[in-house]
Every structure is written in C-alpha cells, then in structure tokens.
Amino acid sequence: MGDAMLLNLVLFLPVAGIALLVLVPARSEGAIRWVTFWVMVVQFAATVVLYVHYDAAVAGLQFETRIPWIPAWGVYYLIGLDGYNVLLVLLTAFLGPLVVAGSFSAITKDVKLFYAMVFLIQFAMLGTFVAQDLFVFYLFWETMLIPMFLIIGIWGGERRIYATIKFFLYTAFGSILMLAAVIYLVYSLQTTTGVTSFAFADLYRTELPLSVQLVLLSAFGLSFAIKVPIVPFHTWLPDAHVEAPTAGSVILAGVLLKMGTYGFMKLGFPLFPDATRYLAPLVMALAVVSIIYGACLALVQNDIKKIIAYSSISHLGYVMLGLISLDLIGIQGAIIQMVSHGLTAAGLFLLVGIIYERCHTRELAAYGGLAKILPVYAVFFMILTLASIGLPTTSGFTGEFLVLLGAFKAAWPLYVQGDTLPLVLAAGAVLGVVLGALYMLRFAQSFLFGKAKVPHEPVTDLNLREQLILAAIVAAVFALGLYPDEPLSKTELAARDFQQRVTSVAIPGGAR
C-alpha cells in the first residue's frame, strides 16, 4: 500500500498553485502560465504514481485519509481512491496541464485570475471524486460551481450572461434538492442506527422504505441528471459550451459532466438500490432517449461547438445505459465510456477552440476543405471524430461496445421472460451508433472536405504546442482502445461492488 499523503498532495497541489500565483505579479503573464502548467504537470505525475501503485486486487479504499473534522456531526475529512474514482482522478489530472497549455494563447484577459480559477476547479473536481464522506463531497460539489460560473461569465462569449445564469439556475436547483436529501439521509441513518455519519460506507447501510428511497433518489438523481445531462434536463449545456472559453468547454465536457454519472454510480444508485431497480426502466428509457435525441440534435446544428455539445449528451447516454444495465460488462463499459468521452470531447473542443481562435466564427458553413489548408489539424480532427463515433482501436469503441454488449446481455433474458421494453431500448441504443456516424461525418465532411474555404485568411496549421496537446490526447485514446485490460482490471472490483449493492435486496418486499 502506498502513501496516503501522496493523494493529499495531489488534491491540494492546486491550492498550493493558487498560493504560488499570488506571489507572481499579474503582469508577468508568461510566468503565470508556466507556473500553472508545471504545477499541473507535477500533479499529473503524482497521480500516475498513485495509479501505478493502485492495487487492482484490493477492494475498497486505498490511500485513505481519515481525520475527524466536525465530530459533533460525525463529519470526517475522508478521502481515498477506489475502483470507482481511480480512472476519473487520472483523467482529471491528465487533462489539467492540457487545459492550461490549451489556454496559453486563447486567454489574454485577467490571466492571473483565470489560472487561479482553473486551479480552483481542478481542486474541486478532484475533491469531489476522492471524497468518501458526503459532507466533504457536497462541499467540493458546490465549490465546482463557482469557478465554472466565473470562467464562463468572465472569459465567455457574447451571450455569456444568459449562459451563466442558465447554468447557475439549473445546477443550483439540483444542488438544493440534493442538500435536502443529504440532510434527510443522514438524519435517517441516525434515527435508524443511532450512528451519526456522513461516510459513504455508513450511508450505504441505511435501510429505507421504498417510498422514501424513491423521493431521495429523485432528489439526488435530479441533481446528477442535470450535470450529466440527461434529456430533458440538458438545455443549459449547449449554451454553456457555446459561450464558455475553450478551457471551460474542455473542463466541462472532459470532467464536469462525469460528476453526474459518477454521482449516480457512487451515490444515487447504490444508496437507494430498491428505488433504482424500481426506476430502472425509466432510467434506461431516459438514457436511450438521450442517446437518440442528442444525436438527432447534433445532426441539425450549424454551430460547431453545439455539435460537440449535443454529441456529449448522446455519449453520456451510453454511460447511463451501461450503469443501469447492472451487468458487469455494461458497468465496466460505462466507466471506460466516461473516460473516453472525457478524452474525445476534450480533444474536439480544443480543436474547435483552435480554429475559433484563428477565424473567430463557429459557423459550420463558413468552413470547408480544411484538410487541404490545415493537414495536421485535419488528421487530429479525423482521429478524434472516429474515436467519438466508436471506431475500433479507439477508446470510443471500447466504451460503446462494452456498454451495448452489457445492456443487451441484461435485456435479452428479460425479453425471454416477457418484458420487451429493455430489449427495444437496447436495440435503440445500437441504432444510436448509426446516428453517431451520421452527425460526426456530416460535420467532418463539410468541415474538412470539399472546396477549401476559411472565413479568415491566412490560417496557420497547428503549432508545436497544439500538436503536443492533441498528441497526448490521441495517445490516450488509442491506449484505451487497444489495451483497455489494464484500466479495466483496476475498476472491476468496484464495478462488481456497484452491481452487488444495487442488485442486493435491502429490505424485504422492497424489490420490484
């Protein structure tokens, strides 16, 4: 077992980064950029060490830190890595330096504050993932909102105020519901067992009647569903993406959306297993609706950022489908799909940002034949497009394939027993694969191919910095596509744990 301090170091490095930035004068923008970048690199390196030392054969928490914080409420500063979060922590730390490097030339206004906000959101995201105490989780969860709000609100596009308020209203609404549910949940734990605790491990043991579970799951679930986002709670996302600066979009698509699916996996479903099984058909239907709906909307967008934004809705639908399949293959696929989407969406948003920086428009029709003018750019764009539509050898295939296999494998026996809906939904999700190819290749076709045209000449191809950022993402995309066995081995026990928690009958008669 490795050193738990290292995980704390990883978590608090961004805070140290903010402190460092305070020392740098606001005018030396170069220094600010590089300090931020290198702190992020150190953080990623430390996370890699953690990942390597993470023992796939051990269930439960590793690198655990448990310090009493608010004893009267049974609140602990409790963090640790497990199969649920290990890949997401790695993804977050991986994207950190890339987000920073990707903003070098895009952000020229209030540089210092910007990178401080990037540090802050990095801190909050990692904290949300590693938290093992609901109080700590909630604090980090809420903290995420602030820097994101500011990143869009200060460095965003023309309609940024509308977008931020929309984003804020949606998420704040979800948060309030979750807060109420958290309080009720802890209160119930106390009244039924006499234990006052916010620790996940204790809360899992709460026994609640189905009706209460349904209410609480709805409250938690709404908050998570907004984050994912699941249709019909998604309309904040396209606006937020369109108005956000590239870094904001990358963080949003790369990591923030996974908070929702992670929330379902770590809290929503396992805390309320009976309600989850009861609502499973509904959740599955919403997942498939998201897949199809997001894909159809991506098909008719003319704003290049919106295409990627709507495709995110579709791709995260697969994650939800995998989780709710409650099949081990499907769950594992969902975890990989989270990471895969984090990589491909981040990469595509970076690419969109790069062209926007050069040409100042996001209108698809303004572009054409970029493969001729920007060949290197086109290669990266094509690879990430293919990864996004799940072409074999890329991460997208690993995720989608396993999710669909799991969903189908779970649905078929139900069909044999006379329940047709899950099978229809699983088949519908498979059709989503066709729609995915349709909207992404439509995008690629009018963007990269045909007569060359750009709204703003001359444009230059990717510089070395941009190439290195994208090469890192592409390398990860192929690693996850070609050899997913390694990461899957580290999540298998957690996937099994999740499966058992949700499928075990907590109270007699609670199951459907």
Partner: protein, 624 residues
C-alpha cells in the same frame, strides 16, 4: 508469430508512409508501400505450406488479451484454417498486385504517400477480418476496412461529391453493423463466447444453444448486406466508384465487399442450423443479383457497369451460401477476385489512357491503341461471362448447379433467376467491351490524340490477373475446403440434370455474347432503337430504380425534419427552454442582482468567491 506478423506488416507500412512518407519521398513510399504487402504475401504462403504440412489443422495464435471482464477474456487471437488461408492469400496476393499497379496509376498524384498509407491500412484491417478467431476481432477488421474504404472513396476530397460518397458508404455500412452487433451480442449471451470456432461447435454440438439460429443468422446477415452491398443496403457501392480505380479494384471488388460472404461461410455452423435465415440469404442474394444486373445493362460509366456487376456477382455468392454450398461461394470469391480486379484495373488503364474519361459513349475503337489492356480485359470479360474453360465458368456453374439441386433450399426457380442473371452478365459485359474497345472511335479529338498504353507496372499486373482469370478455375477450391465446409447433399433423382444444366450454362454465356454482338456490334444502332422503344423502362433502369431517391424521401428527409422541427424547435426551444424561461421569470430579480454584481471589477469577483468559501468553512468549524 507468423500470423501476427502478416497482420502487422501492412500496419507498419501505414504508419511509416503516413508519418514519414511525405518527407522521405516517392521511392521510399513505393518500397515500403508495396514491399510490406509482398512480404506479407510471402509469409501467407509460408503459413499455407505449414497448414498443409499439418494436414489442415488450424494454426492458432493469441496476440494478447484485449479485456478481461467477469472471467471472460476478450482475446485478440488469429485463426488460420483452410478458409482463412484462401482469404489471406487472395487479400495479400491480389492486394500486392494492386499495390504495384497503383505505383503506375497514382504516379502523378500529389498525395502519393497518403494513398499508399491508406491502402496499407486497408490491408491491415482486412487481414484482421479474415484472420480473427473471434467475432470481436472480425468486427474490428470489419469496421476498420469500412474506415479505409471511407478514406479512399473520399481520397480526392476537394470534390465535395467524393467526400459525400465516402460518408454514404460509411453510414450505410454502419446500419449493417448495427445488425452485426446485435447478432454478436446474442451469440455471446447464448454461448458465452465470441470465438467463432466455439460458436460453430456449440451450434453443431449435441446441446443446441438456447437461441434461434435463424435470428442470429439474419442479424449477422444484415451486417453482410451492408458490407457486401446487398439489397437493401447496396446503394453505397456504385457511389463508391468516386475513389481512385485501384481502390475500386481492391476494396470494392476483390476483397472488402466479399467480407459478408466470408462472414456467412465462417459462421456456417450457425447457418447450417438456420433454415429460415438461409432462405433469406438465398432470396436476397438472387434478387440482388438479378436486379443489379438489369441496371448494369444500361449504365454508361465504365466503372458503374463494373460496380453493378460486382453487386450482382456478390448476390450469386449469397445464393450459394443460402443453399448451403459455402465452399462454392468462396470459390466464386476467389475467381471473382481475379477477373473483377482485372476488369477494374483494365478500366483504370482505359481511364488513364483517356485522361480521365469514364463515359463509354465517348470511347470506342480502343482495341488497337491499347492492345494489352484490350486483350486482358477481354479475357476477364470472358471469365465473368462464364465462357469455358475460364475461371468464372467453373465457379458460376457450380453456383447454378447447387441453386438448382441442393437439398438445402435449391429450387428450379432459384436456378432460373440465377441463370437469367448469368445471361445478363454475359450481355452487359460484352456490351462494355464493344462500346469501349470496338467499333468506331467516339472520343474527343483532344483525348484521342493523347491515348497511350499504360506503363508496364500496370499492364504487367493486368497480364498476371488475366492469366489467373483464365486458369484459376482449374484449382478446385470446393474440394480443398471440403474437410471444413462440406457441400450440401444433392438428391439422387436430380443427378441426371447435371450435364444438361452444364450445357445450358455454356449456351447462356454464348447467348449473352451473341446478344451483345447483335445489339452493339453495328454501331449500337439496334440498341438505340430498343432504348427509344422502351423509354420508360430505360429511365427506370438508368435511374437505378430510384432507390436513392426513395431512401432520401423515406429516411433522410424525415430524420432531418424530426430533428429540426420536433426535437430542436418544439422540444428544446419551446418545451424545455420555454419552461425554464417561465421559471426564470420568477427569478428575474435574482438575475437583476447578478447583473448589478457584474461590474467588471474582477477583484470583487475574486473577493466574493474567496469570502464565500471562507465564510462557509468558518461556519462549519464554528458549528462543529
């Protein structure tokens, strides 16, 4: 090691040419791009000899475990038996020839390196497809060749139509792939494995898996209709001719499009138990064969004629599969690879000679000007028409025989439609010969002036392929494959039909030739008269039965309309955002407060953020 190496060599070629090709120049690209496939062919021959030395026992190699979930290992493993041996030899052999041809054909192209990189990439995925032991590996190759096809159809991407054709191919194939995936999932559920040898064994074993073999068979066949351009997913292949002609020869004639045939033959253990699915395969096959042949009769683009001919020939292969004559289908895959590659490359040579002209109405009289191309083209035409003793005669005759006599779905009507197809094939192919090479020249003077025979790298390949089209049929592939793909039983009382049918199929081939000579031999005057007489029919055929237009009306436009009007306008904007805006009306004061805070003073923002956090933390400690 050997099998893995065969697969990896073209991949190495792709990476080398893709990453370094432009910098290192054409000689490097040529050596790597052609050399590695040739080496792969050599290794395939070596593996083949090993297979024979081992008495035909499959050679298995496990490269690595892709994923292991719930105790099941998704292995990347290769399986080399008689069937995959045939396919690997075709893919690397014909593939290498076409690579060599391309050095001449693509010589002047500015994206020479990119072309060879894509071609190598195609070979890599195609070899994965035919060597994969599991459906997973096969599927990786299956989608991968689709990618290579997409990239190569749209190779000249500055023409928007080419890129559009590539997209159409990819998306149409994806529809098939959805069926393939469902079939694969069902098999995994039913047998607990994706290894095809195990699946076949499970279905032929004493305890049948708890799933309908026909359901699985139909789902997998949906995949095959995509890749092998069968009704209703055939629409992408004619458009795919937008790619450079060597691509049409390699991918869209000789190898990739036969993947569906390979899939069904490979899964013969399932199809042998799936009577209904086999019937569907045979019927779709024969319908496609006939339907495509009728279209080919009136096409005027030399490559489009060959494209519809390919669809038609693939249909005949599915007829063989549907009546249980799996090895006969593979036999036709093998002969077809030679003569169709030869025809496409010959067409390429014609196009090359005519500075890019593809319309046969502006050709004619080329026989003497490009004699090597002419002779090889005629040999291949005779082969596809089924004139004995050329290769196509043997394989097509066997297909017709089993369509008639197989105890597993053979029927006189099936034979009749397949024979009508054969007649049409002979007719439209000789029509093509007449219009292109014989008669008077209808070329533009400018074009005619520049007509030249292709370089030896191209004509040499044509000669080799023509020779193989001539003699390839003497190798009795069904006999070689018999240990693993036995022929279906033929009822005793039908045996005396064999000789009459054989004579019949020879007569059909010559009838087609005679028909073409009659209608097109005399300046096509008779053909013109017929066309005028049956104008409506001609429009229907020339318009390809307007299937594209139908799909656009029934699928394309409704999908866009629903997405735009129902989902975007009614759903997102009216329903969801409308609700939100209504709610936001209540919270307008909040927004007002926010806008007042938006003073632009960043220090204030930062202060508020930090203060907010500090207060909340302080509060939590105080109350702790």
């Amino acid at each position: 090691m050997l099998l893995t190496l065969i697969v990896l060599l073209p991949l190495a070629g792709f990476l080398a040419n893709g990453l370094l090709g432009n910098r290192l120049g054409k000689p490097f690209v040529t050596v790597v791009g052609c050399g590695l496939p040739i080496v792969a062919f050599g290794l395939a021959v070596k593996s083949f000899l090993d297979l024979l030395a081992g008495g035909g026992a499959p050679i298995v190699e496990t490269a690595f475990t892709w994923a292991r979930i719930d105790g099941y290992a998704f292995d990347i493993a290769f399986w080399f038996d008689r069937l995959s041996a045939v396919m690997v030899l075709i893919v690397t052999g014909v593939g290498s020839l076409i690579h060599v041809y391309s050095t001449g054909y693509m010589k002047e192209d500015k994206s020479y390196a990119r072309f060879f990189a894509y071609l190598n990439l195609f070979l890599f995925f195609m070899l994965l497809l035919v060597l994969g032991r599991s459906l997973l590996v096969l599927f990786v190759g299956w989608e991968g060749v689709g990618l290579a096809s997409y990239l190569l159809i749209g190779f000249w991407f500055e023409e928007a139509d080419n890129a559009r054709a590539g997209k159409k191919a990819f998306v149409t194939n994806r529809i098939g792939d959805a069926g393939f995936l469902l079939g694969m999932f069902l098999l995994y559920w039913a047998t607990g494995t994706l290894e095809m040898d195990r699946i076949n064994a499970a279905f032929t074993g004493p305890v049948a898996p708890a799933v309908s073999a026909s359901l699985v068979g139909i789902l997998l066949f949906i995949g095959a209709t995509g890749k092998s351009a069968q009704i209703p997913l055939h629409v992408w292949l004619p458009d795919a001719m937008a790619g450079p002609t060597p691509v049409s020869a390699l991918i869209h004639a000789a190898t990739m499009v036969t993947a569906g045939v390979y899939l069904v033959a490979r899964m013969s253990g399932v199809y042998a138990q799936a009577e209904a699915a086999s019937q569907v395969v045979a019927m779709v096959g024969v319908a496609t064969a006939f339907f495509a042949a009728t279209i080919a009769v009136v096409q005027t683009d030399i490559k489009k004629v060959l494209a519809y001919s390919t669809i038609s020939q693939l249909g005949l292969m599915f007829v063989a599969l549907g009546v249980g004559a799996y090895s006969v289908a593979i036999f036709h895959v093998y002969t077809h690879a030679f003569f169709k590659a030869c025809l496409f490359l010959g067409a390429g040579s014609v196009i090359h000679a005519l500075s890019g002209e593809q319309d046969v109405r502006r050709m004619g009289g080329l026989a003497r000007k490009i004699p090597v191309t002419f002779v090889t083209f005629v040999v291949a035409t005779a082969a596809i028409a089924g004139i004995p003793p050329l290769a196509g005669f043997f394989s097509k005759d066997e297909i017709l025989w089993f369509a008639f006599a197989s105890s597993r779905g053979g029927a006189p009507w099936l034979w009749a439609v397949a024979s009508a197809t054969a007649l049409l094939t002979s007719f439209y192919m000789f029509r093509l010969v007449w219009l292109t090479f014989l008669g008077k020249s209808r070329m533009e003077p400018e074009v005619e002036h520049h007509v030249h025979e292709s370089p030896w790298s191209m004509t040499g390949v044509l000669a080799v392929l023509a020779a193989l089209s001539a003699v390839g049929g003497f190798l009795s592939l069904p006999h070689f494959l018999e240990p693993m793909l036995p022929l279906p039983r033929v009822p005793e009382h039908l045996h005396h039909f064999e000789t009459p049918l054989l004579v019949g199929s020879i007569l059909i081939a010559f009838a087609g030739l005679a028909g073409a000579a009659y209608f097109f031999g005399n300046g096509a005057a008779r053909a013109t008269r017929v066309r005028e007489r049956f104008g409506g029919l001609h429009r229907l055929l020339a318009g390809k039965y307007f299937i594209d237009e139908l799909y656009e009306r029934m699928l394309g436009r409704p999908l866009t309309w629903i997405s735009e009007h129902v989902f975007l306008r009614t759903g997102d904007r009216m329903l969801f955002d409308g609700t939100l805006h209504g709610l936001a009306g209540l919270a307008r004061r909040t927004a007002g407060v926010f806008s007042r805070v938006q003073t632009g003073n960043l220090h204030l923002y930062a202060f508020l953020v930090v203060a907010g956090m500090a207060i909340s933390l302080a509060w939590s400690f105080r109350h702790g």
